[in-house]
Symmetry: none
Subunit: 205 residues, 4 copies
């Protein structure tokens, strides 16, 4: 179940601030987005925002957590009740879900990836728990596939997870969902990550 972001009509101010902030953060990065810019984009004044959030960092923290949780829920939903499917298909489902959440779902997920590296430590810390939760989701998933013989067993799941998520998130820097289709992207990435760069009849030593 995706995050319940209300309709703009009767959307509470608090949610509007978060939604608008996420968009701005995604577009311009954390330090380039001032409280005034957020306020302007919300149709209010900078001071008014402080009736809804005690500080800019609290806005950022909320955006981050909503983003991480959204991806986590998307991927979790995509692979639940699929235990009988082949490993390759299940991984494809997870990759598709992650990329969809990143590029289609909302600004929250993409803002998360974009600005995390720009944040001061205290704000980062507030997102770590949610991040760890998502990492564990993948680690458990990959471990399960390993046990069933669905993926290679000579590689720690952490390494696979780090490469995979790193590669997927990096698409944010160039992929434009308006021009290309997320599905096509996800198919290609799945294929490359599952089967590797080498031709199918060879195995590298």
């Amino acid at each position: 179940m995706p995050l319940a972001i209300p309709h703009p009509d009767d959307e509470p101010t608090r949610h509007r601030i978060l939604r608008v902030s996420a968009g701005l953060f995604r577009q311009s990065g954390y330090p380039a987005v001032s409280m005034r810019r957020i306020a302007d984009a919300c149709g209010m004044t900078a001071g008014s925002i402080y009736h809804h959030f005690p500080s800019k960092d609290d806005i950022v923290a909320a955006v981050l957590n909503l983003g991480t949780d959204a991806v986590g829920e998307a991927v979790s939903a995509a692979i639940s009740d699929t235990t009988n499917e082949p490993a390759a298909l299940r991984i494809r489902r997870a990759i598709h879900a992650h990329l969809r959440a990143l590029h289609e779902h909302s600004d929250f997920t993409s803002a998360n990836v974009r600005i995390f590296g720009q944040l001061p430590d205290p704000v980062r810390t507030r997102n770590l728990e949610s991040r760890r939760r998502y990492e564990k989701l993948w680690d458990r998933f990959l471990s399960d596939l390993k046990i069933r013989g669905g993926i290679r067993t000579d590689m720690p799941v952490e390494a696979m997870r780090l490469l995979l998520i790193g590669a997927l998130n990096a698409t944010l820097e160039w992929f434009d969902p308006h021009k290309g289709a997320v599905e096509a992207l996800a198919n290609r990435y799945s294929d490359l990550l599952l089967n590797g760069f080498l031709p199918s009849d060879r195995v590298s030593t």
Copy 2:
């Protein structure tokens, strides 16, 4: 041949500023590094820097380009005169070179990856040419391998390059060269990228 960074003794001020800036950018990100911080770290005053660079953006641009060029030269050197080696080995060489440049070689490379997403558009633009050059290096390399049958032919080289560089650069967010060895990291990533996540006796449909 790596970039010729002079020894600190007779190093021209201009180079010192760039070297110090790269280190700071890598560590703290673009907006957190003020001209005064750079000046302090260089043992001079903020005003003096303007005798060497017309603006902060010019420093950033120079750092970016030096970084991109450094990786380019490292990878280029690693795969030149290897045309007779097997494809897998050549890709391994390229991946190792890229990761070494990122984690060991100099602050320029890593600063580049770290801060690129935080920059205002005009500065980004000034690094695009250099980036394109590096991308073309990979695309030519991969195309060559493709023609020789060294890598799969059912995938555009751009997709492979984007996934590969994206995955490699993402290691900057977690990999600590003090604790682990870059070589081990490069070996694992090479193996995973070349052969994929699936067991070696299967091929995903």
Copy 3:
């Protein structure tokens, strides 16, 4: 008879605001106490206070006047019906009453002394009448003692009053009623003010 501050149970909101404000003013000073802090301490919102007072300055003015009047009434009560007592004893009574009002009686008195110097002129002005009244109380008292020969006649009562009240009020900056007894303080100060610093057998020229 002290000011009739009602019991918290059926205390009108107006009085609660004043009482709470006085406590905060005493503790933190005038500018450090915001309307929101007052409101929080009263269990209401900042906006609600404006149903009882038109502005922050009106609250301050009310607190000031209640404070000045409280000391005035305390001292007045202490010296009424004592016309037959010795001058020294009567002054002691007045000093005791003033110090008690300052340190024990209520926050109004001490808040008054504490914040008066921090206030913008218009607010100060609104307390002047009440201050003048208290000054006249002392001046009449001292004049009366003078006529009766109870205190020295070579000194204007204004000078004596200014020194005395100044010295007493200054105790607010260091005296802690929890650690010492107000009575002991009052005794010492009375003794010093009445007899001076010189040994009792000498008179300074």
Copy 4:
């Protein structure tokens, strides 16, 4: 020797900022004086001040310490080399020095007394050492007089010092050196403090 405050002509900016700030603090109190107000009064912009002082609190702290030290030095100079004089005369000298420093010498001393009660704790703390030094100056002075039999022995010196300094400082709230003469004020206060309020032929019990 009084504090060396340079002439306005070639006065260093740092000193000008302190002098101007002291005047404003004295007049309006600590919170009512903003950095912009100081800057305006100095003929510069708010940002420029930060080239001379790292924060507003540092300005305040400097003003406070200059003020306390100025009084201390004035009093210290007034009573040095007077050990052979009568106690009453020596106390008169000290009182005169204190009041002169307060009302004539400079804005620093008066600002000190005026704003100390309005300051946040950290700033207060930075002035405590200097204050303690001044208190000890008086305590040693009074103790010495006590030993020589110059002042009464039935009262702790701390009590006498607190009453005395409190009374003297309180004159800042009403005394206007333009209209009255500091000397006359000092004479009256000395007389009252030395001999007390009671007629010279009586001693209160």
